[in-house]
Each structure stands twice: as C-alpha cells, then as structure tokens.
Subunit: 130 residues, 2 copies
DNA sequence: TTTATATTAGTAATTGTTCCGAATATTGTT
DNA sequence: AACAATATTCGGAACAATTACTAATATAAA
C-alpha cells in the first residue's frame, strides 16, 4: 500500500520536529484542531502509526499511562522527570557494547536497547527549593 | 494506614516470587481463581499496588499494552523478546556510573535508571530456524 | 465479644487507543 | 478536464487495561 500525501500528517510531523516536549497524541490534537476544525483523534493516531512505520517518528511507551512521540530518530537515551513527567533527550553516547555483553551472557540476539534515567529536572528542583 | 494480612495478597506475592515469567495481572488472576473462586481483578490490582508501595514488587510498564510484575527487587536489567514477549532478567552488572555521567551532563538529579534490551529469545530463534 | 478498620467481590466508570463505514482528498490515466 | 482507483478523513462505536465505588466480610486489637 502506497502513501498519499495528507496535510494533517505533514503538520503532525512538522509539529513533532519543532517541539522538544515529546508530546502525547492529545497534545498534538489540541495544537492542530484550530488549523483543522474537524480533526479527530483517529487521524492523529493513524498518522502517528504511519509515520512510525516510515521510520520518521518513534513512540515512547514508558514512564506514563499514555504514549508519547518524538521525531528525533537518531539513537539517544531519555531522562524522565518524576515530578512533572517531562522527557529530555540526553547527549550521553550510546553504549552499543552493552548489547554485545548481553549476547555473550545469554546467547540471544539483541537488536536494540533503551536506557531511561529517572530523577528531578532543574525546573522542578528549583520549585521544590522555594 | 496499617496493613492487615490477606490470604490473597500473600499468595500473589508467593506466586510472583516463584515464577520467572514476569506475569500480568490477568495471569495471576487465572492462576489464583481456582484457589479463591470469588477472586476479582480489583483484588489483584489493589494488592499489586500495595505490594509495590511496600517495596516487595515492581511494576514493569514498558514494551506492552498491559503491565507486568516481578518480585525480584534487586536491581537488574531486562531482555524482552520481540517475538513472544518473554521478559528475562539479566545478570549484567548495573552501571551506576551512567547516572553520574547524566548528572554531569545535565546538572539534574538522577535517582535511578533502567535498561531494556530487545531481541529474539533462544526459544523463538529455534522455532524461526525450523 | 465489641469495636474499628482494612480487605474483598462485584460492578460501574474511566482512560487511552483502535476499529469501522460513509464521505472526501489525492493520484494516475484517458 | 473528467474519470477511476484507492488512501485518507471524520465521527462515533468498540475495546482493553486499569481504577473507583459500595456493601459485605475478614482481621486485629481492646
């Protein structure tokens, strides 16, 4: 099945590329419904899923009851604030040798790995102090 | 609020301790309903939540649409089979220096981290080959 | 054995996501 | 430009996992 272009999908991807906030489907819906008054959540989810299949978007399915999404598809790790739920991309180099170690230990095939760091972000730390 | 003992809760913890399968709430329910014919899912979820508060159980909330649970509370990483969904505990040493590196990079406070490795388990690899 | 309250079963409600069908938009062809 | 083929949309219904509620029951302590 081929893909036809869609204004909604283009804007979803554009929004994801220009925000660092790793938004939820609902956030995208709220942002775009002014632009597309008859927008529906089905459209958001379907397009996120298509963009993911195309390798342009990644789903972040941890640290929350709902999924979040990002268009930064270069390998990187995440920091999650335990207070406000913010997700930050980290610059920490990706440690591929860990995958080798797991393969040596288990003799299983490892395709990828993920690291999430949990703590308190600077903004929440500042609020806490006050 | 203090905790009174509950046969249901005791058995949930015991089951979790003696299985390596990182089961779902539903799996626990199916296993225990012979023993407690009037068991309800609410009881499973409530007790898992209490056991988690007590630090006896950890929720595994990634890689699936439903939560899974474990009673192995010593720090360790996970391997998730992309084919059958099995979760395996890894022996890989926990790399606490990564948390320091993140703190140096971001000047945020890191409390913990998690690593998940994704790949194909031995059982699924064998099936695939045949 | 009385009292206080944590726990349970059963069910209803909630949440996030997926699925569906009829209408619309996009693309390629004549 | 008109047409056919089909991907996409909207809107709402359906769904699955979890949480919330209430009356009845179990536990612990006095």
């Amino acid at each position: 099945m081929l893909y036809k272009k869609s204004k909604q999908r283009d804007r979803i991807l554009e929004l994801l590329k220009t925000t660092g906030s790793h938004p939820s489907a609902d956030w995208l819906y709220e942002k775009l419904k002014a632009e597309f008054p008859r927008l529906s959540m089905g459209t958001i989810y379907r397009n996120l899923s298509i963009l993911e299949k195309q390798g342009l978007v990644k789903k972040i399915d941890f640290g929350s009851t709902y999924d979040r999404f990002e268009a930064n598809i270069t390998p990187h790790y995440h920091f999650i604030c335990e207070v406000c739920g913010a997700i930050k991309d980290l610059e920490l180099p990706v440690e591929y040798q860990l995958e080798k170690k797991v393969e040596e230990e288990t003799h299983m095939t490892v395709h990828k790995h993920r690291i999430e760091f949990f703590g308190i972000c600077n903004a929440c730390m500042a609020k806490k102090g006050s």
